[in-house]
Amino acid sequence: MSRNRLGRPPAYLLLPAGLAVALLLVPLASLVARAPFGSLLERLAAPEVLDALWLSLWTATAAMLASLVLGLPLAWLLARVEFPGRSLVRTLVTVPLVLPPVVAGVALLTAFGRTGVVGAPLRELGVTIPFTSTAVVIAHTFVALPFFVISVEGALRATSQDYDEVAAVLGARRGAIFRRVTVPLAAPGIAAGLVLGWARSLGEFGATITFAGNYPGVTQTMPLAVYTLLQEDLEAAVALSLVMLLVSVVVLALLRERWFGQAAR
């Protein structure tokens, strides 16, 4: 039986929703229509492409995990704990969103580069970050973290705080409340944040190429590979991005159905 027992959605909601879908669908569809499908499989099998795809997937996943580990506590602090300077921190978190990605890459270079605040001391220890896969992960995290934090903070604010109180009365310490009550209740919002962050990382180009460079097998993610290919062959570059799309859609569809299947009801 249909769950729409609260009545039909009105046209003034269906129409814009349809438009939204169209706005997203039409460009994708016409892109797909132009793609040279014949060479798609062949391209997918090329070792550099597989390297780039694999690099993209694991660095984006690592960045997602880093966002989760670093960002979830931050989102929680912003949503649930009063501390001086909270609105300052909240604003700070938004800033990297506004930074054009290439400038973000420059900023990362100035911080982690050989003369950077963090980079210089690290270099003494024999560690250099830029132009390594680690740099890719850092660039992705820097770019994706704000998305994650802001959307999760929104979700946390939208969930009731009453249950935190109940858990406290039952003897759960602040950390246990966080783990066992707040986070599970905000699970759909957190899942959304992870999807956002992961997808943003996958598509990230500017910060990565500037901070990590464009080294095949080491820092050349799919968007960078697409860029490189774009120098020679537009259509091939488009085909390559479709490969990436396909893979990420499959991964996402699998993940989402599992997450939402569990988290939402």
């Binding site: 249950y163 109180e165 109940v166 406290a168 009365v169 209740l185």
Partner: protein, 365 residues
């Protein structure tokens, strides 16, 4: 020195809460009072959920809040159990998970916590529902799980906010006894908010009556039942209480008219009489009953062997009459009658607290 010494002060506009509460081991305190009197706020302040601007809470010699404490102890540091007025079961956990939450949080292992939880669910007759989520439970079932959750941590201070409100009559009675037994055994303190006279009379050994954020009366259940200080308690206990100004054996009632008693008293008084002492007639009574009022029947319901009649009039009254008399008088809502009570049936005692402002609800009645 009592086990619990609480001077609860919560600032809130328009009405603040100022309640002093002391309790010894094994005490079960019923907190009663009209809606909005501050009962839930009191429990929340004791739990550390409501910040106090002043006052102290000490338990077993330790300062929980107030001057003796560097900072108010957090709820988890207080080791309490609480049933909330809105049961607030965790929506993402099963009934079992909800009850096991407390033991888990207090350091028990998973298996142990779940066994413990299962035992409590069984004690509350809801072990079949262990694997259900709260949204798959009925109101009363959820309430029972909430009670199990509060009890499962063996708290030294148990705060119960209308725990039996959603329960059916059989379960409520059984739970009252169970609670009384549990509270008597454990040597801690129970604080029970209720709107039910039975709870007060069967579970508690002390009663605190709140009105508008202040204590209106304290005493044993019997004392409170017999000498209610507020109209609310009188109604709860099924008594008639009229207020007035005593002068000799006459009481000038606030609701108008004079009541004659046999106990002389000067000053503000409560005049109290049982519904059984009220006789109803159709015509204005003559004879020895000098206290009489006209009134309109608002409801007629069986009450034990008698029939209980509610009257609206200058002051609302309750009368218990025999079924025979009720039939004879044709008592039905809307009927105009005269109520009379003999002077000898009226108990008179002083009003302890200063007369409170009219409570909210009186505007409604």
């Amino acid at each position: 020195m009592s086990l619990l010494e609480a001077r609860v002060r919560v600032r809130r506009s328009p009405q603040s809460l100022e309640v002093d509460l002391d309790a010894d081991p094994g005490d079960v305190i019923a907190v009663i009072g009209p809606n909005g009197a501050g009962k839930s706020t009191l429990l929340r302040a004791l739990a550390g959920l409501e910040p106090m601007h002043q006052g102290t809470v000490r338990y077993d010699g330790r300062a929980w809040d107030g001057p003796g404490a560097a900072r108010p102890l957090t709820p988890q540091e207080r080791g309490i159990g609480m049933v909330f007025q809105q049961h607030l079961l965790f929506p993402h956990l099963t009934a079992l998970g909800n009850v096991a939450f407390g033991p888990r949080s207090r350091g028990a292992r998973r298996r142990e916590s779940e066994e413990r939880a299962r035992r409590w669910l069984t004690r509350l007759g809801v072990e079949d529902l262990a694997d259900r989520r709260p949204r798959e439970l009925s109101g009363g079932q959820a309430q029972r799980v909430a009670i199990a959750r509060a009890l499962a941590t063996d708290p030294a201070l148990l705060l119960l906010d209308e725990p039996l409100a959603a329960l059916d009559v059989g379960v409520a009675m059984a739970l009252r006894l169970e609670l009384a037994r549990h509270l008597a055994d454990f040597g801690g303190i129970g604080v029970l908010v209720t709107h039910d006279a039975l709870d007060t009379l069967t579970v508690a050994n002390r009663v605190v009556v709140l009105d508008q954020g202040r204590v209106a009366q304290v005493g044993t259940p019997d004392e409170v039942a017999q000498r209610p200080q507020t109209e609310h308690v009188a109604r709860l206990m099924g008594l008639n209480v009229l207020r007035g100004q005593g002068s000799g054996t006459a009481v000038a009632l606030d609701s108008g008219g004079t009541l004659v008693t046999t106990t002389p008293f000067e000053g503000r008084v409560n005049a109290c009489f049982s519904p059984a002492a009220v006789t109803l007639t159709l015509a204005e009574p003559t004879g020895s009953a000098r206290n009489r009022w006209p009134g309109t029947v608002t409801s007629v319901v069986p009450h034990g062997a008698a029939v209980r009649v509610h009257l609206a009039g200058p002051a609302p009254l309750i009368a218990d009459v025999t079924p025979g008399a009720a039939a004879e008088l044709g008592l039905a809502p809307g009927r105009s009658v005269w109520a009379a009570v003999k002077a000898t049936e009226v108990g008179v005692y002083g009003i302890a607290a200063p007369p409170a402002q009219a409570p909210l609800r009186s505007r409604y009645v």
